[in-house]
Symmetry: C2
Subunit: 196 residues, 2 copies
DNA sequence: GTCTATATACGGATAGAC
DNA sequence: GTCTATCCGTATATAGAC
């Protein structure tokens, strides 16, 4: 069933369903997918353990819903950005600014996207490619910006380069106690955009 | 007990102990720490499950031994490099070449160091800082090279920058199906070293 | 739709014979 | 040092009353 349809229904059941997905999303990020149990989600949401199976057949189904939600969230965020920043360079800089805005989460748990993908890839999880496709959503959008900046030929590599840089910053920030590192790297990246 | 002493003993027991650590090291990398069970290590090593507790009191003890081993392995690898490459730039380039040499593992499982640290950080594991200290081993060595290249003032940031770049490349390579990306990024990094 | 009780499997860990 | 049998906790998942 499509999530758009679900949102339109607005029944109490779907409100609970959305609540489970939101809480699971957060816990999968902060504790990891495997380490998050139904009990954890139940405790955090106030919904009884056994009740989950009314909404989801398996834990993987919850993950699937979380991944759908994440892709939708990214999509609507990018639409927002397009409205707010008409300039491609400003858009790119805003992409990097995410790191600064969510600095404390990143230092504690890494990047929500990168860390989940890495975990699912190691588990050889059925949904690993679903998770990896979150990166594609960003990549398509980034490619548009680079193309607008007359870098059409290199748009794909430049997009991956930026995403890679941000992933590296996230990971190193989460393993290091150096508080200045992340900000300094983001400044470097923004400068890189200016010089494009 | 110090691992050096253990190696000197050379009894059958210590041979088995080292075997457990090696197999666990590999499995922690490829499956993740939490997802690796005693049964997995038993199957891969041919040593009976219940036998592990003769060598290690807990699973965390195995992890501790794995982390010790990894730090020692890194250490001796860096000593090797210092012997083999007298030029600091050549050393730095060799650091990046690791990505190319272990490309297929990286594409499947990410960086052994980064992915384990990320997992343990999310678990809020007692040994998370032990794991993170693997990065320090590399950082100290990198700082020496940058200092030798007259970048003493920026040695720390440059070292973290390089490690971050490599982490980002590893992560993106593991989530993407783009085969050329990793090699292109490494070339870019090597060029960056040349221009230092 | 919600809740309790429970089935089933597997995880780490222990005891004790050999 | 090695192996088997087993404990105990917790995980996902199910059945069924309400």
């Amino acid at each position: 069933m499509n999530s758009c349809i679900i949102l339109l229904m607005g029944t109490k059941g779907e409100k609970n369903r959305n609540r489970i997905v939101s809480i699971a999303d957060d816990l999968f990020y902060k504790k990891g997918y495997e380490h998050t149990s139904f009990t954890d989600i139940a405790d955090a949401s106030g919904i009884a353990r056994g009740n989950f199976y009314y909404y989801f057949k398996t834990k993987d189904d919850i993950l699937c819903a979380v991944l759908d939600k994440r892709r939708e969230d990214i999509d609507s965020m990018l639409v927002e950005w397009d409205k707010k920043y008409p300039d491609p360079k400003a858009r790119l800089k805003n992409y990097m600014l995410m790191l600064v805005k969510s600095q404390s989460n990143i230092e504690n748990f890494g990047c929500p996207m990168g860390s989940l993908c890495l975990e699912l890839n190691k588990l050889r999880h059925v949904l690993q490619h679903d998770a990896n496709s979150m990166f594609e959503v960003f990549r398509f959008w980034l490619e548009k910006q680079f193309t607008a900046l007359s870098h059409k030929k290199d748009a794909r590599f430049l997009s991956m380069h930026i995403m890679g840089r941000c992933q590296g910053i996230s990971l190193l920030a989460s393993t290091s106690s150096d508080v200045s590192y992340l900000n300094r790297e983001v400044k470097l990246l923004q400068q890189w955009v200016d010089e494009l």
